[in-house]
């Protein structure tokens, strides 16, 4: 499946996932406390230079974040008009900084490493009977189901088009859900049988 992870190793990949997540947590607390937009703008510049230091994949990644721009600008303009431009700059830089920093962690950490760091945090849930193993199974199932369901949607919309000659409307959701639910029962039987 497509992922947001950059597969080519960079220096950021060598830092352990736990350290990156801890750094992100500290950065988010500091960004929430910051009251000066110039400091946040400087931090943004630092974050962008980290992207640049990852060379081409980093640049491509930064470019893909452009979908954020209209949303953040919209918030900034709205806020500038109803509050003050000072506050608008503060929140625009804060949002931008936190999103690109968090995205750096996602881009440089494989999903398995992320799971390995996160799963021990779920250990307390053993007390109420939820095993971290079950969570891992669920994540694996979701990741497997997504392409299967996407293919099922495509096949059902092809069938719709073949029968009616028209583009499928949102009515397609009904057979889509119904077929998907039927499938789960078979999969549940298979898992139970293998246990």
């Amino acid at each position: 499946m497509i992922s947001l992870y950059i597969s080519r190793a960079t220096w950021l990949h060598k830092i352990p996932a736990g350290a990156k997540l801890a750094g992100l947590a500290v950065a988010s607390i500091m960004a929430m406390q910051a009251g000066n937009w110039r400091a946040l703008a400087l931090a943004c510049a630092v974050a962008i230079s980290i992207y640049l230091s990852l060379r081409r994949p980093g640049l491509a990644r930064l470019w893909s974040l452009r979908i954020l721009v209209p949303l953040v600008l919209g918030i900034g303009i709205f806020q500038g008009l109803v509050m003050s431009w000072e506050a608008a700059l503060l929140s625009v830089f804060r949002i931008f900084l936190m999103v690109i920093l968090a995205d750096l962690v996602t881009a440089s950490t494989p999903m398995q490493d992320m799971m390995r760091v996160v799963l021990p945090l779920f250990a307390p849930f053993k007390l109420i009977g939820l095993q971290p193993k079950i969570l891992a199974l669920c994540v694996a199932l979701v990741i497997r189901f997504i392409p299967v369901l996407a293919a099922q949607w495509a096949a059902q919309s092809d069938a719709w088009r073949a029968r009616s000659g028209k583009r499928p409307g949102f009515k397609l959701i009904i057979p889509f859900i119904s077929r998907a639910l039927a499938r789960t029962d078979q999969i549940a039987e298979s898992i139970a049988a293998r246990k």
Binding site: M83, S91, I100, A102, I128, I134, L141, I146, L149, A192
Partner: protein, 208 residues
């Protein structure tokens, strides 16, 4: 697994995998709905004239249906699992967004609102169905309005205010543009519930 008798198959599916009583059937349905929410994010968006170009995605339809079809507990767990997969880095939010970044963006309140929303939709629907068992469409519509719209905004609007430093009233004004789309999605969710085949055990879309 075609050669299990219906009784054996029922037993196998209901074998609890955890002590709190989630059977394999529950686990697979939770995972499946998390994936349904993801796939609905990939379905091409449609732009409505009256939202002035603000894209409408059908992802919250998945959240409403999770609560309606799986019930409050499993529905909320499905949304939670979906968010967990997003946090791990899967680009499955509408528009190909995902990763830890979204949890620092202005829409974070809506994401957590989805969990509470699925819970509220499922709970309300079950209560209403007890009152009026024959009115699936109306029950699903009311449950989607309460849980799928009101509860989600109850979390989403303060989320915007918290991240951007806007006042709650301003944040509410800014998010009102999405309400027409949400009303349309609640109608769709209710339509799905009214049309979905129900088998003799009262579960939806069973395989046999």
């Amino acid at each position: 697994m075609q050669n299990l008798s219906p009784q054996e198959s029922k037993q196998a599916q209901d074998t609890p995998a955890t002590r709190e009583g989630l059977g394999y059937r529950d686990i697979v349905r939770i995972a499946l709905f998390a994936a349904v929410i993801a796939v609905l994010g990939l379905v091409p968006r449609f732009d409505l004239p009256f939202t002035a170009g603000v894209p409408i995605t059908v992802q919250t339809l998945g959240v409403m249906l999770a609560g309606l079809i799986l019930g409050p507990r499993n529905g909320a767990l499905a949304v939670l699992l979906f968010l967990f997969v997003v946090a791990l880095g899967a680009p499955v939010l509408a528009g190909g967004r995902g990763g830890l970044g979204v949890f620092f963006g202005p829409t974070v309140g809506f994401l957590f609102g989805w969990v509470a929303g699925a819970l509220a939709v499922g709970f309300t629907y079950q209560q209403l169905m007890r009152l009026m068992p024959e009115r699936r469409f109306i029950a699903a519509l009311l449950a989607s309005w309460l849980g799928g719209i009101f509860v989600i905004y109850l979390f989403g609007v303060p989320g915007i205010a918290l991240v951007t430093g806007m006042q709650i009233s301003k944040a509410m004004m800014a998010s009102l543009v999405f309400v027409p789309g949400d009303i349309l999605k609640s109608l769709l969710a209710a339509l799905v519930m009214a049309r979905l085949p129900v088998d003799r055990h009262g579960t939806f879309g069973a395989s046999r």
